[in-house]
């Protein structure tokens, strides 16, 4: 049996690519090595709780009727209505640094007002930066030269604290590069977080993923779980077939892989790895702890939807020298979204930058102890800024870069993939394309759009001979 297209990975980008292809009558198979769909945005179950992985909030929120926003494009391309996603907006989020605090909501004017009040000398520069961002085409699929956002921002804003405060959420929610950010990525993240904003789907990732899987299957798409790629076979630089672990061979006219760029190439002919630029492997990863509470976060003094904090005077976004960096992080209170009725349980999530190599080197027992030890350290530092909630915790769980590697296969457990993005998705192998994190659109909406764009660009816009 020959497929028109095999999609590797059933995360958001793979599912979206699959839906687009199946919609236009391509014979398409999605293979997933894990037993659960979702990839980097998935879920797991512990003690009757279904817990989202990756999802603090969906960025890129735009209201019903907005059709040319990333969310609007996603909905129309996948033929969903806005109501299908059951999105509820955030309340208020904030960026908290030692002497400054900037609040923001899904109304961009609040952030402008906060900057005007707290950084009066910088507001003119900030407004000029916003103009530049507004006129920037960040969704172009053609590659440009890497542009340092730190340099660009330095031309508009002089206070390093404000620069750090703007970077903090944008880096935490989508930067694969340490210390700096490619400017087009900065623009994507700035628009998706500050100008569009946060929402959460009622029912979490489980709900959204089911929606996509159901649509894919109803269009005739085939999804195989527990199917891991062993080799991707090419002849004279053209994709021929792939073998699954266990030996089975599958053939198709084309492959779209969401495994990651290096992750894909290392399953191909070994000579291809020689062409991979040094430093293409992602490094940035996180430890995340979640705390189920016996009351609402608000009752404990946690009134924000998301808080990006830094307890140091300078914000460092890099692989930490210790197992985790407790000096900055992200706090998410899933309860503090404008749901029609309160969620069944209070929860707080805490995310810190983490060092994959150090976690990976620990023997099992030490690994388990280290999770507890560093979770405690992270909390103690957090409680220098925010109220202590430990007495209200009824369940907690922690995952590390090692967990992320195990379930997603991303090298170094890198959540945002390779620092070198491949905007056009083209690999050295003809008819083998990349989508997802390493193509360069990030977040839930971004990943989904990535799958859509790559399916459109490389398969649907080309006249492929009908399947025989």
């Amino acid at each position: 049996m020959k497929y028109d297209v095999i999609v590797i990975g059933s995360g958001l980008s793979g599912l979206a690519a699959g839906i687009r292809l199946a919609m236009f009558d391509k014979k398409v198979l999605i293979i997933e090595k894990h037993t659960v769909v979702g990839g980097l945005n998935s879920y797991y179950t512990r003690k009757n709780r279904t817990i989202d992985v990756g999802l603090h909030a969906m960025t890129n929120y735009s209201p019903k009727g907005a059709r040319n926003t990333p969310l609007g494009k996603l909905l129309k391309q996948l033929r969903f209505s806005h109501d299908d996603f059951r999105l509820y907006e955030q309340e208020t989020s904030e960026i908290r640094f030692p002497e400054k605090c900037l609040r923001f909501t899904n109304d961009f004017d609040l952030l402008k007002q906060e900057i005007r009040e707290q950084f009066p000398d910088e507001i003119d520069g900030f407004m000029r930066l916003v103009k530049k961002i507004e006129s920037f085409d960040e969704l172009s699929l053609t590659a440009d030269k890497w542009t340092s956002s730190k340099l660009v921002l330095g031309g508009y804003i002089s206070d390093p604290v404000l620069i750090d405060m703007l970077f903090c959420p944008l880096m935490y929610y989508g930067n694969a590069t340490e210390r700096d950010m490619d400017f087009y990525q900065f623009v994507i993240m700035f628009k998706s977080i500050f100008m569009e904003g946060f929402a959460k789907p009622l029912g979490g990732m489980l709900y959204i993923l089911n929606l996509l899987v159901d649509k894919f299957k109803s269009l005739g798409g085939e999804l195989r779980m527990d199917a891991e790629v062993e080799t991707i076979n090419s002849k004279q630089g053209e994709f021929k077939s792939l073998n699954l672990v266990g030996g089975e061979e599958l053939t198709a006219s084309a492959v779209i892989s969401s495994m990651g760029y290096v992750e894909t190439l290392r399953q191909c002919d070994p000579s291809l790895m020689e062409g991979v630029t040094k430093g293409s492997e992602g490094q940035v990863s996180f430890m995340e702890s979640l705390f189920a509470l016996n009351r609402e976060p608000k009752d404990l003094g946690y009134c924000r939807s998301i808080i990006f904090f830094c307890s140091d005077y300078r914000f460092r976004y890099e692989v930490p020298k210790n197992l985790i960096d407790i000096s900055s992080g992200v706090l998410c209170c899933p309860n503090n979204f404008q749901y029609p009725k309160p969620l069944s349980e209070g929860m707080i999530r805490l995310t810190n930058l983490a060092n994959f190599r150090l976690w990976d080197a620990l023997p099992r027992r030490e690994y388990i102890n280290a999770k507890k030890e560093w979770r405690t350290k992270a909390l103690e530092n957090l409680f220098t800024l925010f109220p202590d909630f430990r007495d209200s915790v009824i369940f907690s769980d922690t995952f590390t870069p090692k967990t992320i590697l195990k379930y997603t296969g991303h090298i170094n457990g890198s959540v945002y993939g390779s620092p070198n993005k491949l905007k056009d998705g083209i690999t050295p192998v003809r008819n083998l394309f990349i989508c997802g994190t390493d193509q360069g659109f990030l977040g839930i909406v971004g990943a989904t759009l990535s799958g859509i764009s790559m399916a459109n660009l490389h398969i649907l816009q080309k006249k492929v001979a009908p399947n025989t």
């Binding site: 236009f24 494009k73 909905l75 129309k76 391309q77 033929r79 209505s81 459109n456 649907l460 816009q461």
Partner: protein, 87 residues
């Protein structure tokens, strides 16, 4: 297909692409883009839906024929004359 059938076929496609849009007020002589905020992704979808539903190929050089409802009908009616509108 009659002129009215072709119009309905286009409306059906637009309804699929833009489920949240009110299509009852579409004016035939105005461009679709200004009434519905369509982008290049949408035009690609109109072309692909035409291929899927009616086996009609619109070459890229003819995309401008789809600019308004009136021009869609004028362009598509000869191509769809042997088709029935699916009920």
């Amino acid at each position: 297909m009659t002129r009215e059938d072709v119009r309905q076929a286009v409306i059906d496609i637009l309804g699929d692409i833009a489920p949240d849009e009110d299509l009852s007020s579409i004016k035939d002589d105005l461009t679709l883009r200004e009434q519905m905020d369509l982008d290049s992704m949408d035009f690609l979808d109109i072309v692909m839906e035409l291929r899927k539903r009616f086996n009609v190929e619109v070459p890229e050089s003819d995309y401008q024929e789809l600019i308004s409802m009136a021009s869609c009908i004028k362009y598509l009616q000869p191509l769809l004359k042997d088709h029935q509108l699916a009920s």
